[in-house]
Symmetry: C3
Subunit: 245 residues, 3 copies
């Protein structure tokens, strides 16, 4: 790989948030650089969260790269991206052994991350036909999950009568949060749905979402849930396994 390889990004925050969200579950992963942009798919070691992230090449100021596929330590990559200052431009290069991340601002900082072999067990996410979909303001969902965290480490999501109900239960008390149709929440469902999820994973999934934008939850009883939102212009999608007990 050589000079033909340059990716430039002015809005580093987008990539930073995505990698931060992902690295809270998945410490190492493979990036696919294609003609269309960058994509990332991975499942966490406990196989509870599957994430798909795409950045179209249009998001980049420059996107000139030969298709390739590289593994990196996402935790380290996230630390580097969090060092970007407001007006820094990110220039990304790849060599045979390293990913080079250059932050160009009042001084030029070049970080390099060794490329690593990350096993790439292609996961087949079965196409689910969901029974309910909820469009909810990120801030509201986050507050409801914080409420739930007072009582337990799991939440039950229920969709019923065009309402989303979030429940948590512990020895010290219970929570029942009811979100009706408002300008902040819209609920559509074909049938009643009830399903249980890890609260901790769900909180991490929504942590980087813009608080004032909406998150789409797609649900089916006792089935994995799909959580999707956009980071800037780039879609990120999580599939979160349901809990059996």
């Amino acid at each position: 790989m050589g000079e033909w390889m340059t990716i430039e990004l002015k809005n580093v925050d987008q990539l930073r948030k995505a990698i931060e969200a992902i690295s809270s579950f998945i410490s190492e992963g493979n990036f696919r650089f294609s003609e269309n942009g960058i994509s990332f798919k991975a499942i966490d070691p406990s196989q509870i969260v599957y994430v798909i992230f795409d950045m179209d090449k249009k998001v980049f100021e420059k996107y000139s790269i030969e298709p390739t596929f590289v593994g990196v330590d996402l935790v380290e990559m996230s630390k580097i991206l969090s060092r970007a200052l407001p007006n820094d431009k990110l220039v990304l290069d790849l060599t045979d052994s390293e990913m080079l991340l250059r932050l160009e601002g009042s001084i030029r900082r070049s970080f390099s991350l060794p490329l690593i072999d990350v096993s790439d067990d292609e996961v087949n996410i079965p196409k689910t036909s969901f029974d309910a979909s909820i469009d909810i303001k990120s801030k509201i969902l986050r507050e409801a999950l914080k409420d739930a965290s007072l009582f337990g480490s799991s939440v039950v999501l229920r969709v019923k009568d065009n309402q989303l109900i979030i429940e948590a239960r512990g020895s010290s008390g219970t929570l029942k949060s009811v979100a009706k149709q408002t300008k902040y929440v819209s609920v559509e469902s074909k049938s009643e749905v009830v399903s249980k999820y890890s609260l901790n994973f769900l909180q991490s999934i929504v942590r980087e979402a813009d608080p004032d934008k909406k998150i789409l939850l797609e649900l089916k009883s006792d089935a994995p849930m799909k959580v999707s939102y956009k980071i800037g212009a780039s879609p990120i999608e999580f599939h979160l396994a349901h809990m059996i007990l």
Copy 2:
């Protein structure tokens, strides 16, 4: 108990601050709901702090309740109240086994706390005739206590010549804080007073007081001190035992 039971409160902050102040000493306690409002009296397990808190029914938007007496976990109750968002209204209900706290805002969140049996040893606080009383701006008292915390875990309060003197002494140094009569401090005394108190307890007692309002300290040499202030419209009163050594 049934439908006749509804208490509504718009200014949740008042109740939140009171329960926070109390729960830093006393993890479980009994609330008395009477015709006049809610009251709470309890002593901490080490019998060092006795607290009395009253909320007149006028403070509530709705106060329709049959007289009753229930015990709850104050630490859990404090966590729930701290989840109130700025415009949330609190609706409080009681069932035979639970206290229901509903926060109504952009979504409706219903928390329930199991009622518990809390032993209610009626404590007889002997009527003290204090020798000195100090009205002091909360912020100033708090800063002086922070100063003291550099050096030790107790403070000596002295009243002399219309001054309040706060002293702390440790192996690494000493503090002597002198508060004269100003617009922030007024001191009245019949005789000189000197008495020692737990710094940690005293700091917790004043933590929730409005920094710009005044706190009343009533003192007598080698006797418990009375600390009182208002949280919103509601009086809270602490009796703090003196230290012998």
Copy 3:
């Protein structure tokens, strides 16, 4: 010592920052009060940092003192100075056994620190003729050191072609920060320089510098570095030993 002894300082922040910077390396030290002002020289226990701090008597509102020399616990002194409120005036007195620090504001707080014997091994800092000097905005240097801290506990400073290059290397990646001549950075050098320093010490040295003012770095290959800046009107100077390996 008696009534003739009074030092008053309105801008307590200056002294606070200096003592905070110094006390992060050196927990006890000797102050010299002379006709010209206060000075402080000390080396840290591991003999890696040598610091010289001077406050001219002009900085003080009142400076009336007989020449003397006293040792104090700098960590405790730093805690006391950090208790100064925005408009407090510091009055400093010495007795035979104590340093008295009085903060005078809405209430008067008198702190006393026991004087201690601090061994005063006069260190001879050999006069170095440096090969490079860099004037760099404090904020920029600090960010570059934070970048470096992602990867290791030491940094290599390089001066070459009128650029300052800061490098760090660890198992998880590397950083190379290049600061060219700009309005924020000016580099002068007689020859190329490369030298390695403890990152942790260097970060502590610059922590209290005004982020928008400049720091002067004076360097020579494989030799101690001199770091100097002003805290308010008062010069502070650090000599930081280089690392051999």
